[in-house]
Amino acid sequence: MDYYVSVATFAALNVILALGLNLISGFCGQVSLGHAAFYGLGAYAAALCSVAGAPLGLSMLAGVLVAGLAGAVVGFAALRVREDFLAIVTMGVGFLFLGAVRKQQWLGAEMGIARIPSPLDKWGYAMLAIGAAIALVLLSAHVRRSWMGRAFGAVAQDEDAARTIGIDVAGYKIAAFFLGTAAAGLAGAIYAHMTQLIVPDAFNFVQSVTILAMVVVGGIGSTLGVVAGAVLLTLMPEMFRFINDYKLLVYGALLLVVMRFSPEGLAGIVYRLIGRRLA
């Protein structure tokens, strides 16, 4: 039973991460290849607070805010550079985070932070993660239908046209980065307390690509598709032992095949099957 609880928790964490990235890349059209850095920022910030004696709620808030504010700063970078340039800059942000953490003694360098206080039991974290994931699904669905979601869509489709009709492109880009990376920070804070040990390598480029894989396999821009993608890619390696051994081979091949044959992901396939236009 414990095993299923922890798999469910990880699936929920991945849903949070993927939905956060989907806000930035799917809704607002800003490619990010460094999402794991914000996951890591949230985890480190929360871990430091808890080790210093802060209660769980406060540590989690710290994780969310640190990651979200760092994300907003990257949002400013997205005002200077676009598309391909932005993809490379966000990838750079990931390497910068990793390289900086690895050299900081006060962050434990390569060894990371161990013995993080853990006030909840397995079930507690599962409820927390699943609750947060559901909240994020609702938030995504709400943003999609709100004025903000439509503005995100306009920025994604044509920045210059959006600016012409008076949409505050800069503000919405920064808002998308803040929301998306704050979600990653939340996932990081829960992860740090649950595992009680964090190391820099858990937040590397491959982790960023894994989150991206969940988003694109599910269907970039589609909330339910992304949830399905995140759950599927979490469960697959657990269900099939051989996939766990060749995880990167499978993830990489999936990215390739989905992009090559159905760039709208699973959501695109479903919509095509039921004959509806992609929302």
């Binding site: 890349s25 490619v31 290849l33 970078a77 200077r80 550079v81 598309e83 391909d84 340039f85 993809a87 490379i88 800059v89 990838m91 750079g92 942000v93 390497f95 910068l96 990793l98 390289g99 900086a100 690895r102 050299k103 900081q104 480029f205 491959v206 690509v209 991206l212 894989a213 694109v216 060749y246 995880k247 990167l248 081979l249 499978v250 993830y251 990489g252 091949a253 999936l254 990215l255 390739l256 095949v257 992009m259 090559r260 760039p263």
Partner: protein
């Protein structure tokens, strides 16, 4: 003396980056694709070269096989993966390319083992040449020679040959080039072939330099290659070469002066981000 030595190390790194980045910028100039999977071609070339060297004992043959195997793989990637998705948004090709890289890294691990392979006989690795109180390993000298020769050959190709002119015409305006009888398809295949040959040779050289060929050897050098072409102003060849050397030097000195705060990769990307915030179009790129 120490700083001069760092200068040389930086130049050697810069030359390796240049061989990778020139190919990436060729592909980007033609197709607007960030060809991350160039790393796979690089590693493939290194394995092909190593297996040839260990089988036959001949290094020239190793370079030939490495270059050809890599060179063949580039056009195959273009035909099977990129060509069908050229009309999709740019992130589609980028993600597909990352997919190839990640999958093949695992593929190499399955085929050749996780710990990498070494050259059975690698005289260049142990021999050093000394001049003016500095000592360089023979592989490092070959890297500089290879970079200078290959890049000069490319410059002559681009400016003096029909194929080179066709390439430049296609970069600036594909429909017009096509209407003047340039085979845009042919130009694209040629660009992928040249980019991949360069990557393959660089792969064999880096394998010799570390005396190790391992599944993940291409990843970082390819990410930095992308950083370099962005720095140089995407698709801009002189800018790419300047940025390669500059990044090599920044890393060489940075790893000494910033050792307490950042590692080598973080220094490279910090440099990239800092430059892009000041000059979003890259070092030599034109403003929009």
């Amino acid at each position: 003396m120490y700083y001069v030595e760092l200068l040389l190390i930086g130049l050697v790194w810069g030359c390796t980056y240049a061989m990778m980045a020139l190919g990436l910028t060729l592909v980007y100039g033609l197709l607007r694709i960030l060809h991350v999977a160039q790393a796979t071609v690089f590693t493939l070339g290194a394995y092909a070269g190593l297996l040839t060297a260990n089988g036959t004992g001949s290094l020239p043959l190793a370079f030939l096989v490495g270059a050809l195997v890599a060179g063949a793989s580039g056009p195959v990637i273009y035909r099977l993966v990129y060509q069908p998705i050229l009309d999709k948004p740019p992130f589609v090709a980028l993600v597909a390319s990352i997919g190839i890289l990640i999958a093949m890294e695992d593929g190499f691990r399955l085929l050749f083992g996780p710990y990498g392979l070494s050259f059975a006989h690698n005289p260049w690795f142990t021999d050093t040449v000394g001049f003016a109180g500095l000592s360089l390993n023979v592989v490092q000298i070959w890297i500089v020679i290879a970079a200078v020769v290959l890049l000069s050959a490319f410059a002559i190709f681009a400016s003096r040959t029909r194929a080179g002119v066709a390439w430049r015409a296609t970069v600036s305006d594909p429909p017009i080039a096509e209407s003047f009888g340039v085979s845009v398809r042919g130009v694209r295949y040629t660009a992928f072939f040249i980019a991949s040959v360069l990557a393959g040779i660089a792969g064999v050289l880096v394998g010799l330099l570390n005396n190790l060929v391992e599944p993940g050897m291409g990843g970082l050098i390819s990410y930095k290659g992308l950083a370099i072409i962005v720095l140089g102003g995407l698709g801009n060849v002189p800018g790419t070469l300047a940025a390669s050397l500059l990044l090599g030097l920044v890393e060489a000195y940075g790893t000494v002066f910033l050792d307490k705060a950042l590692d080598r990769d973080a220094i490279a990307f910090l440099f990239l981000i800092a430059i892009l915030m000041v000059r979003p179009q890259g070092l030599l790129g034109k403003a929009h």
